[in-house]
């Protein structure tokens, strides 16, 4: 067992650090000693550009040293941290990129930091590091939930200096720091702003509602629907200033998403029902009925959706029945249940036909 006393942390020039030829990420039939090939493989498979952006923006975080062992030529083989090593090598030598050349050049050119040395914990033997690798790459570090990520981003946003290009440039700078995309950052921050607004309004006095009962992901998912953010008075789902927010509508939405009925359910139920809600809020009559307490299924009948469902269901039933007919001669021993189902289908078809004929007469 290696103790902390047996290992030492050193800042070693990047050019003296080598990739691990036994890296389990690399494919079997691969010349892992060829640095060019390792970079080619990693650029194609390991989303290095984001990591390069992050290191290039804020430097290498010394709290996360690489783990390595000394090789016979005096250089250090990095057993843990090959992606970070590859990113740093490419920041220093973007011309080494065999693929994604333009992106690598661009990130290297825009980088504020290009660490020429990296902190490495040097272990006596490769085996000493292996058991730790299992925890890191198989079990993995528990990622923050979306709310935690959004709160972290808010902290970063608040300390990020103002830049030319306004809010969008600031989102982009944050995205670069965390290796994400500006629109994802903007949407998480907008979700957080809504969440904090709900908190600020004392959860709209909804009985039993507090922080622990609000699922942040439901809010960000709702923001994916343009009808829903328009209903809130917002012009974009990517604007944490919440310009135009109509508090009353946020109160309504909070109620629908999170308030529990006496049966312990919310009015929306599962998040996939948000697509129905998005149709309802964009339709005046449906919205009125929904606000009056109607169920989702009933309110949706006041939108265009039912006609779409009717047409689609009709064509699909016809096609499915045709398939059943095509295969019917293969059924040697029909079960009684088949006859029951067929009778049922006939009765349903007759009912639909009667309704359609009535409608035609009314026309």
């Amino acid at each position: 067992m290696v103790t902390t006393a047996d290992v030492s942390i050193r800042f070693i020039p990047v050019d003296e650090l080598k990739f691990d030829p036994q890296n389990p990420r690399l494919p079997g039939n691969f010349d892992a000693k060829d640095e060019h090939e390792v970079l080619r493989w990693m650029l194609g498979d390991a989303s290095l550009i984001e990591l390069m952006g992050s290191i290039g923006q804020q430097g290498y975080f010394p709290g996360e040293p690489l783990l390595g062992v000394r090789d016979h030529d005096g250089k250090v083989v990095i057993v843990e941290g090959n992606r970070r090593l590859a990113s740093t090598k490419l920041l220093l030598h973007p011309e080494l990129a065999p693929i994604k050349k333009v992106a690598v050049q661009k990130v290297a050119l825009e980088a504020r930091e290009k660490p020429s040395t990296l902190p490495v914990l040097i272990y006596p033997k490769r085996e000493d590091i292996l058991s730790y690798l299992g925890y890191r790459h198989v079990t993995g570090i528990k990622a923050w939930d979306p709310l935690a990520k959004a709160r972290y981003l808010q902290e970063l946003y608040d300390i990020e200096p103002e830049v030319n290009g306004g809010q969008e440039s600031k989102f982009r700078a944050l995205a670069r720091k965390i290796g994400s995309r500006a629109d994802v950052v903007a949407k998480l921050l907008t979700g957080l702003a809504l969440y904090e607004k709900i908190e600020e309004c004392d959860f709209f006095d909804i009985k039993g509602l507090d922080e622990s009962h609000i699922n942040f992901s439901v809010l960000t998912t709702a923001l994916n629907y343009s009808n829903i953010f328009s209903f809130l008075g917002l012009t974009s789902a990517n604007d944490p200033s919440l310009q135009g927010l109509e508090i009353e509508n946020l109160s309504d939405l909070t109620n629908w998403l999170f308030a529990k009925t006496h049966e312990g359910k919310t009015r929306i139920g599962e998040s996939r029902n948000l697509s129905l809600l998005s149709r309802i809020v964009s339709h005046n009559q449906a919205l009125k009925i929904w606000k009056d307490g109607a169920s989702l299924d009933y309110a949706i009948t006041f939108t265009e959706t039912p006609v779409e469902i009717f047409r689609k269901s009709l064509f699909e039933s016809q096609a499915q029945l045709k398939t059943a007919r095509d295969y019917s001669h293969q059924v040697a021993k029909p079960e009684k249940s088949y006859m029951d189902i067929l009778n049922d289908i006939r009765a349903i078809a007759r009912d639909v036909m009667v309704i359609m004929e009535e409608r035609q007469k009314l026309e």
Binding site: A46, G53, V184
Partner: protein, 327 residues
């Protein structure tokens, strides 16, 4: 973040369980990428990133099932999407503007695009209007009707006549411009059939097309009733399934007295195939002859002069010059 004035905004993910649309999405992303390439890992990280926004849920990949974790399912799904791309390389041959590199891990745009390559890009944009700036959509859909018309001409014998019936700003035939009632009367006349409507039956403000975009017919030299004709619809949106009968015999038999039943075709820019080249979902097709991206390209590639303008549309060139920002 893509700017609003850009032609495309690729922020949201395609619909669930539709690998052919995801293959399109990969192609669209490759065209916008700084290096004009898209790796499997790039797509995976893009999808995973959107997990926090609840989008991954909407594409139906959020549940663990049969012992497969969400990551396993994503990996498998992305593999299926790349299999679609492998199929396309074979199906479209030289017309396909991409190639697979690095042992199939990267989809890369070809460096120089021919007019036919650009025609493919045009169909790709037409099939993905949800990503296209609203101001550009109408131009694309009306041009798609022209491309469909040219494809149909190549499919039919030389003596076939074609009519652009849809309300298309590029229509130069005065007989088929303006009021719907006038167009129906003229159509009946051209087909040597009898109209069943009176002028007052159709609202005079109606200059629509009643679901009919193109008509092709094979005239005889005499004027007697009865000839071959095909009614066609052009559909760039995914609701083509429920609208595929808008130009069928049944839908039109109350407007014109037809001598005989006729077939109807649906032209669509989608590559509506699975990775083996069969229809992606044959249950969605009923009594329609489907002309999807594969058939369109096959019909047009031997007569590229007729559609060269389409591939060189400003929208296509502008899209090809747009690049998504890195972060």
């Amino acid at each position: 973040m893509t700017k609003i004035e850009n032609i495309a905004n690729l922020e949201s993910l395609p619909k669930p369980k539709s690998e052919h649309l995801w293959a399109d999405y990969i192609e669209l992303l490759a065209l916008q990428n700084l290096d004009s390439e898209m790796t499997r890992a790039d797509l995976l990280s893009r999808v995973q990133e959107r997990k926090d926004l609840g989008e991954i849920e909407s594409v139906g990949l959020n549940e663990e099932s049969n012992g497969a974790t969400v990551d396993d399912k994503l990996d498998l799904f992305i593999n299926d999407c790349f299999m679609q791309i492998e199929y396309r390389i074979g199906a479209f041959e030289d017309v396909y503007p991409f190639m697979l590199a690095e042992k199939g891990r990267i989809l890369r745009r070809k460096e120089k695009l021919s007019s036919l390559n650009k025609l493919y890009v045009f169909f790709l944009l037409a099939a993905n209007l949800r990503y296209i700036n609203e101001k550009r959509r109408h131009d694309i859909t009306s041009m798609f009707e022209i491309a469909s018309l040219e494809a149909l001409k190549n499919y039919l014998p030389r003596n076939a006549s074609t009519i652009l019936f849809g309300s298309n700003p590029r229509n130069t035939n005065e007989r088929y411009k303006g009021k719907l009632s006038k167009k129906i009367f003229n159509l009946a006349e051209d087909l040597h059939e009898r109209p069943l409507i009176q002028e007052e039956d159709v609202d005079e403000r109606n200059s629509g097309d009643a679901g009919l975009d193109i008509v092709a017919y094979l005239p005889f030299e005499d004027k007697a009733e009865g000839m071959l004709y095909i009614f066609c619809q052009c559909a760039c949106s995914e609701d083509w399934v429920s609208k595929q009968h808008d130009c069928s015999h049944q839908a039109w038999e109350n407007k014109i007295k037809f001598t005989s039943l006729f077939p109807h075709m649906v032209f669509m820019p989608f590559c509506f195939r699975d990775a083996t080249g069969r229809w992606f979902d044959h249950l969605k097709i009923y009594k329609s002859i489907l002309i999807d991206r594969v058939r369109l390209i096959n019909l047009l590639k031997n007569n590229p002069e007729s559609v060269i303008d389409i591939g060189d549309l400003p929208t296509v060139d502008e899209y090809l010059s747009e690049r998504e920002t890195l972060f």
